[in-house]
């Protein structure tokens, strides 16, 4: 924080200050006094000192709220956990008053959805969340008007009931006590009305000059309504400009389609129809990839060895879940992927010359054999050329219309965002801008470093800089005005999913802090400050709706959560003939260190930085929490002697940043991958100061990859990985834990998995077995069980966040994770095997196994964990005295202990957020997965009331519900017809650690891979990569 300050200080000399001061509508300040003061002081950075000097009460109050007592202490080790415990009461209370001002009833949308609210019974509302402009359809669970859980919308093709971590976690963003709570002018709390008045005069001035000096900066927008509003806005201010920027932009995708088709199109994939998939650095199974929920579903649907299996080849520069799921993976540096793509195109007869390799030949042959049923997917970070090549290949093999579909773009107005931001900076530099409105973007933090956005903005002399967003973040700090945004759970809006269909976003609760929606803000800019978001949305759709009876149409649409028939139709486009020209220096030479930038798998571009769930979510590959170390390959580490947790200086084009490194199996040599989104300065207690800010070395001309210089530092930095280093080289021990085989193996011996370990005879026992089908013992006759399909699981972590949210699991903070006290009830283990430079890996979600012979129960001295007649391994929190013996004796280590008071008992926001059906655990108590017993109970009560049995599939555990690949199936194992029973009957079904005779109710379906016989001959693609690089 210090350097920025000083920098800003000397960039605003006294004279300019006064200038600015006059330009400000600063009635509240005694300007004369201020000038004197300024003259007499070389005080801190000026715009804040203004009100310091004026000494307004609001300011003091604001300061107090900004830095609650002992705020500094958040940074110290224990308190990073402590933040969740002792939330700044002042903040919290402010939040509460916001709610009490508006009674909840007003906003639970009874008006259009009259349902009888039964206290204790949740209601579900269809809505949507957005990420990078793309919407994902969701259902929101609401308890007495409080949204408590987000789930996928089963009726929508883009979700099919699944949801991803970002959608799930956005709930916590809404309840984040660190959110901005009022409009702020120069740090002073102001009212929305006051803002409107000021803006009016300001905009009137712009109207006069046709918006000459008016600039609007937004993130990517897919909302038809908002886009429409902005168009109107631009009509009103013809000379104004609309810029868009988000750090994780898809510029290359856009450029690629321009290159190939000369127009912007959206590329959609139909993976259910693809027998062979090739990913060119595309991590399409990870939640940040638009449409991943659907893609994951379609991909996983083809992983059943009894049906026709697909085959996945991945050529990638950064190890990803998609990569390790692949049958064959080729690890290349980012710059070498294009070479591979060209070679492939060549060997498929698209011209050019092919650098031949074993891997390449295999892929090419496979493609030829599956023309029309194969697909190439190019990654967002890959060059436009690679995208163009992918389009060409897909077209060449006749995949278009079968496995690939082109449509209108989802984003309302796709532009090259880097260029767009560059233009804006240019205008700012040239002092062309008088009014700058930043809508839900944070360029001061995440703009490319070479644009110096912070300085530019400060010196732009823009008379009105307005920031609109959820937090008073780095950008708000440099704007006179900040308007607190309403979260998407608090406001009306809409947005398009990856397939173009429009979702309606409806509010589940009154804005906690009286925030405004983007629609309302834009309306205000147009002088229509009285319009509510609801009016705006409604009136827009009134214009769009085809139906005669708008009311019923509208009700149905809002009820369903999406506008029927708005999915973009396929669009016939033909790629230009010939391959894209080879750019000079496509491939950097092998000796230089290549650095790749990626969005963080958990906190995205930084917008989830203050989200405890996300911070503590182990990232799929490294199981890292709370930090963003740079990834280096084992080969590079071996050569340089670098170890995980060593600090290095990363120098790129004269800018440098210090980061710790992490040795990531499968990472290419001579390359480092760094993740964006960390090192935030002004976001809240959770995010502030966590990790390292890599935007500081990212430049606008090379946003995704460039070359860098690495100099080791003589210091280390403690990282908090939940799985430590032992994920690799444990083959012998992991064998009984995780089991996989090839399709051939499976065909030869379907039960290969079961034979990897000898299961004890069921009746060889001193004690009689408990009979769970005996009606005298188990009255209702249910016996709950679960299967997890390792073949389907892609390690996306959706289950973990879903569980976190459903079961009120506390966040413990980095230091506690470091000592091994994270609280995840379900974890996704990653096991690497084979060559460290190009390993295969498997993901294994591990909830409580609900063993019939539970070792944990046997050793509990107070009977705090006992068995239910339905076979659940129940945890009686109130009885637990915390001997931790159960955890010691749990071979699966799924039990979690409240070593300290991890749970937050104070913060009102969190009280509102929690699931009332699940009790809050206190200090000294053991907890663990319960198969979502609260959901089972609800279903049981319902079925008994309706005098019927619980239907198969009626109960979905939170993890099962979120899972996009349907890897998790839950049900009654006493019923041979239930889905779960059928799966357990399969040959590849096995129990983890069966030899211990714990008889788990949770069993696994062994992973079966479908390797290409050409490549199967044990040689590893990694060896080939040498050839490729030629």
């Amino acid at each position: 924080m210090a350097p920025e300050n000083t920098k800003r200080e000397d960039t605003c000399p006294g004279k300019k200050k006064t200038l600015d001061v006059q330009s400000l509508d600063a009635k509240a300040l005694d300007l004369a006094a201020v000038r004197e003061e300024i003259a007499s002081t070389s005080g801190p950075e000026y715009w804040r000192s203004l009100e310091e000097l004026a000494g307004s009460d609001e300011f003091r109050e604001m300061m107090h709220r900004e830095f609650p007592k002992g705020a500094s202490e958040w940074l110290d080790s224990f308190s990073r956990r402590g933040f969740l415990q002792t939330m700044g009461a002042s903040l919290a209370l402010a939040g509460m008053t916001a709610c009490t001002r508006q009674p909840l009833e007003q906003i639970v949308p009874y008006v259009r959805q009259p349902e009888d609210m039964i206290p204790g019974r949740p209601q579900f509302y269809a809505s949507a969340t957005t990420l990078g402009g793309y919407a994902s359809p969701v259902l929101v669970e609401s308890h007495m008007g409080r949204p408590t859980k987000i789930e996928g919308n089963p009726d929508h093709p883009a979700s099919l009931g699944a949801s991803d971590i970002f959608a799930q976690a956005s709930l916590l963003n809404m309840y984040d006590p660190d959110r901005s709570q009022t409009p702020v002018y120069l740090g002073e709390t102001r009212s929305w009305k006051n803002f409107v008045d000021q803006i009016r005069t300001r905009m009137a001035g712009q109207r006069a000059v046709e918006g000459e000096g008016f600039r609007l900066l937004t993130g990517p927008i897919s909302s038809p309504t908002l886009a429409n509003q902005i168009q109107a806005l631009l009509k009103m201010y013809p000379k104004a400009k609309w810029h868009q920027y988000s750090p994780l932009h898809r510029d290359n995708v856009l450029a690629g389609s321009m290159l190939a088709f000369g127009q912007a199109v959206e590329t959609q994939y139909r993976l259910e129809a693809a027998d062979v998939i090739l990913s060119l650095d595309a991590d399409f199974l990870s939640p940040s990839f638009p449409g991943s929920a659907r893609y994951t579903h379609d991909y996983a649907a083809r992983r059943n060895p009894d049906a026709a299996m697909n085959r996945l080849y991945v050529v990638e520069s950064v190890p990803s879940p998609t990569g390790v799921k692949a049958e064959h993976r080729l690890s290349l540096r980012a710059s070498e992927v294009e070479g591979f793509a060209r070679s492939l195109a060549a060997s498929l007869g698209l011209g050019g010359n092919a650098a031949d390799s074993h891997f390449l030949r295999a892929v090419a042959d496979d493609f030829k054999a599956h023309a029309g049923s194969c697909v190439v997917i190019a990654g967002e970070q890959q060059s436009p050329e690679v995208h163009a090549l992918a389009h060409a290949i897909n077209a060449h093999l006749g995949n278009v219309g079968k496995t690939v579909v082109y449509t209108e773009t989802v984003l309302a107005n796709p532009v090259d965002q880097t260029a767009s931001l560059r233009d804006l900076t240019q205008d700012l530099r040239e002092k062309k801008v008088d009014v700058l409105v930043i809508l839900d973007a944070n360029p001061v933090y995440d703009a490319p470093a070479d644009l110096n956005f912070a300085d530019v903005v400060l010196n732009s002399g823009a008379g009105l800089r307005l920031h609109y967003g959820l937090h008073q973040n780095e950008t708000a700090e440099l704007c006179q005005w900040h308007v607190n945004a309403a979260h998407s759970l608090e406001a009306w809006s809409d947005g398009r999913t990856y397939d173009g269909s429009v979702c309606i976003i409806q509010p589940l609760i009154a804005p906690l802090y009286d925030g405004k929606s983007a629609h309302e803000l834009v309306a205000a800019l147009m002088g229509q400050s009285t319009l509510t978001g609801h009016d705006i949305l409604r009136s827009y759709w009134q214009g769009q709706a085809k139906s005669a009876d708008f009311e019923t149409w509208w009700r149905k649409t809002v009820h369903d959560g999406f506008v029927a028939g708005t999915a973009h139709p396929a669009k016939a486009v033909t790629p230009k003939a010939g391959l894209p020209p080879l750019k000079a220096a496509a491939a950097a030479d092998a000796s230089t260190i290549e650095v790749s930038f990626r969005g963080d798998p958990a906190i995205y571009d930084g917008s989830f930085a203050n989200n405890g769930w996300m911070q503590e979510l182990p990232k799929p590959m490294s199981k890292m929490t709370w930090d963003n170390p740079g990834w280096i390959g084992p080969a590079y580490a071996a050569r340089t002697g670098l170890k995980s947790e060593d600090m290095v200086t990363l120098e790129i084009a004269g800018r440098s940043v210090q980061v710790p490194v992490w040795i990531q199996a499968g990472h290419p040599d001579n390359a480092i991958t760094v993740f964006l989104g960390y090192g935030r300065r002004r976001v809240g207690r959770v995010g502030n100061g966590a990790g390292f800010n890599l935007y500081a070395v990212r430049s606008s001309d090379a946003p995704w990859r460039t070359t860098a210089k690495i100099t080791p530092l003589a210091q280390t930095y403690k990282l908090a990985s939940t799985q430590g280093y032992q994920t690799i080289e444990t083959a012998t021990i992991t064998r009984p834990v995780i089991r996989e085989g090839s399709l051939a193996e499976y065909k030869k011996k379907p039960n290969f998995a079961q034979e990897m370990e000898d299961t004890p005879e069921r009746n060889v026992t001193l004690y009689p077995n408990v009979d769970y089908s005996d009606p005298n013992y188990n009255k209702l006759g249910y016996a709950w069980g679960m299967t997890v399909d390792l073949g389907a699981c892609v390690g996306c972590n959706a289950c973990m966040i879903a569980c976190h949210s459903e079961n009120n699991i506390p966040v413990v903070g980095k230091p506690q994770v470091v000592v091994g006290r994270h609280m995840h009830w379900i974890r996704v283990d990653a096991y690497y095997q084979g060559d460290r430079d190009n390993p295969s890996a498997s993901f294994q979600p591990v909830p409580c196994m609900q063993c019939e012979n539970a070792p944990c129960e046997l050793v509990c001295p107070v009977g705090a964990t006992v068995h239910s007649s339905e076979g659940l391994n129940d945890m009686v929190y109130n009885r637990c005295i915390g001997t931790r013996y159960c955890s010691n004796n749990c071979p699966y280590k799924v039990r979690r202990f409240n070593f300290l008071l991890f749970q937050d008992w104070e913060t009102p926001q969190f009280k509102m957020m929690r699931n009332p059906d699940v009790s809050i655990r206190s200090r000294g108590v053991m907890e663990k997965c319960t198969y979502c017993v609260q959901r089972i109970t609800v279903a049981r009560i319902d079925s008994e009331r309706e005098e019927r049995a619980i239907r198969d599939g009626e109960i979905q555990t939170a993890c099962q519900q979120a899972c996009p690949s349907n890897a998790i199936v839950f049900g009654n194992v006493n019923d041979p017809q239930s889905k779960v029973s059928k799966l357990k009957a399969q040959a590849r079904n096995y129990s983890m650690l069966a030899e211990l005779n714990t008889r788990p109710r949770t069993t696994y379906l062994a992973e079966v891979r479908n390797p290409n016989s050409q490549l199967e001959s044990a040689e590893h693609a990694g060896v080939d990569s040498a050839v490729e690089q030629g």
């Binding site: 009977g863 001997t883 280590k893 039990r895 000294g924």
Partner: protein
């Protein structure tokens, strides 16, 4: 396990008597009771007590903070749910074995030499059990509810779970504590009477009088007393063997690799006696010097104790080797083999190798008679053994837990300052109690020493003159 020294005793070592000549009834009585009644307070003693109770204060601090914050202040985590607390518990309980063993088993085996050290050993046992008992209580997540482990009728009509080894522990340890106390007190009654009768100060006389409960040494009293004492010895013998067996069940009953072994009970008991005798030596050697009791606690006692250590040490070694053998037998793919491998070459290899050095290699010097009889060397060796036995428990608990079946959940355990403060605190508590004991109660059983005197034998009953033989007569 104590038979070896017995046999050893039979032929060897006649030259050093259990009680040096030149004593008569009056002199032994005076010598022992004067330490309590006459001897003035020495600066050293006061300083010692103050220092040790200072450490007890530290223990208090550690425990208070623990109750205030939660067990999270310790180094424990998932997977290592048990740390120092249980290590120390097992260690202390083990030390607590020597006392009852000496007074009960050796009593049954008619080892007259035990008369001069049983009182001391029993006291040590009580204090050790006291320290041990502290840990299971404070190590729970919610110590204020620890009473739920006892079958107390309650409004929740909720009961303990009797299949849990932890509950067996609760009963075993509390029974052991109680019986040891009873046994100890029974042995004290006649001596308390002696103190009562010798005390010059009216109040002291009153206190000891009350404790002696009007003991008069009537023939009838003695008859009943003797049979009661014999029965207690008979009951304590299986008890003392059972206690550590039960403690070992805490591990053996579980399914963790490194814990789930049938060899645990015997080798835990052996280990317990091993460390118990080490502690006896560590206490007795300085005490006999300070209070000039070399004539009553002779080299012979040291010699025998050393032999017991040697014998039990070998049993422990057998236990270690058997574990390795079983793992080898299970095969290189077995989790057991991995566990053994992890002990030798894993991140905690250091402590494990140290364990071999302390417990198995060092004590082998005890084969040499001259070392067995050199107090200084014995003292040092005993220290090493005690450290070794502590390491053994550390290895069993931490090394087994930190890497078990599921590699994704492996972890490391690092004790925090609070772990250390609690451990050292109990050492302070223990020594404080010993200091006090030395000054308020007869360290050596006076009436049993009297029975070692030649004149204590009824003349006309003409049997052999070996004191041992005489005593047999008395005890039958």
């Amino acid at each position: 396990m104590s038979t070896d020294p017995t046999i050893a005793l039979a032929e060897e070592d006649r030259e050093i008597p259990v009680l040096e000549p030149g004593h008569d009834m009056a002199s032994v009585t005076a010598k022992i009771s004067d330490i309590v009644l006459e001897r003035p307070l020495s600066i050293a003693w006061v300083a010692g007590v103050m220092f040790c109770s200072g450490i007890v204060l530290m223990l208090g601090t550690a425990v208070t903070y623990l109750f205030f914050k939660g067990t999270g202040i310790w180094g424990i985590n998932i997977p290592v749910g048990w740390g120092f607390a249980i290590v120390n518990f097992v260690w202390w309980i083990g030390i607590g074995h020597a006392g009852t063993l000496i007074s009960a088993i050796l009593h049954l085996l008619r080892q007259s030499w035990r008369n001069s050290i049983n009182r001391f050993a029993e006291a040590m046992t009580l204090f050790a059990v006291m320290c041990a008992g502290l840990f299971p209580l404070i190590h729970t997540g919610r110590p204020w509810l620890a009473y739920w482990m006892f079958p107390i009728p309650n409004t929740m009509s909720y009961w303990p779970q009797f299949r849990s080894p932890l509950l067996w522990d609760v009963f075993a340890v509390s029974t052991y504590g109680t019986i040891s106390l009873v046994f100890w007190y029974t042995g004290l009654i006649p001596d308390l009477a002696t103190l009562r009768d010798r005390a010059s100060n009216k109040y002291i006389r009153l206190i000891y009088g009350a404790l002696a409960m009007g003991w008069r040494g009537e023939a009838r009293h003695w008859e009943r007393y003797e049979s009661a004492y014999l029965l207690l010895a008979g009951l304590s013998t299986p008890l003392v063997l059972s206690v550590h067996t039960v403690v070992s069940f805490d591990f053996a009953i579980s399914i963790m690799p490194g814990w789930h072994t049938t060899v645990f009970p015997p080798y835990f008991v052996a280990g317990a006696i091993y460390s118990g005798f080490a502690m006896v030596l560590i206490l007795v050697i300085p005490v006999r010097a300070v209070y000039n009791l070399r004539d009553m606690i002779t080299e012979k006692h040291l010699d025998i104790a050393a032999k017991v250590m040697l014998a039990t040490g070998l049993i422990v070694a057998y236990g270690y080797i058997l574990e390795i053998y079983m793992a080898w037998y299970a095969g290189p793919k077995s989790i057991d083999w991995f566990t053994v491998h992890n002990r030798f070459f894993g991140p905690y290899a250091g402590p494990y190798w140290m364990l071999w050095v302390c417990n198995i290699i060092t004590p082998q010097v005890l084969w040499i008679k001259s070392i067995r009889r050199s107090p200084v060397l014995l003292f040092l060796i005993s220290l090493v053994v005690l450290g070794g036995m502590w390491l053994e428990r550390f290895v069993i608990i931490i090394l087994s837990l930190h890497r078990d079946f599921v590699p994704s959940s492996w972890g490391m355990y690092y004790p925090t300052k609070w772990d250390w403060m609690t451990y050292i605190g109990t050492l302070g508590l223990f020594t404080t109690m010993i200091f006090l004991f030395c000054r308020v109660l007869p360290m050596i059983s006076i009436f049993e020493i009297r029975m070692l005197l030649p004149e204590s034998h009824v003349k006309h009953a003409a049997e052999s003159h070996a004191p041992a033989a005489q005593l047999e007569g008395k005890h039958l």
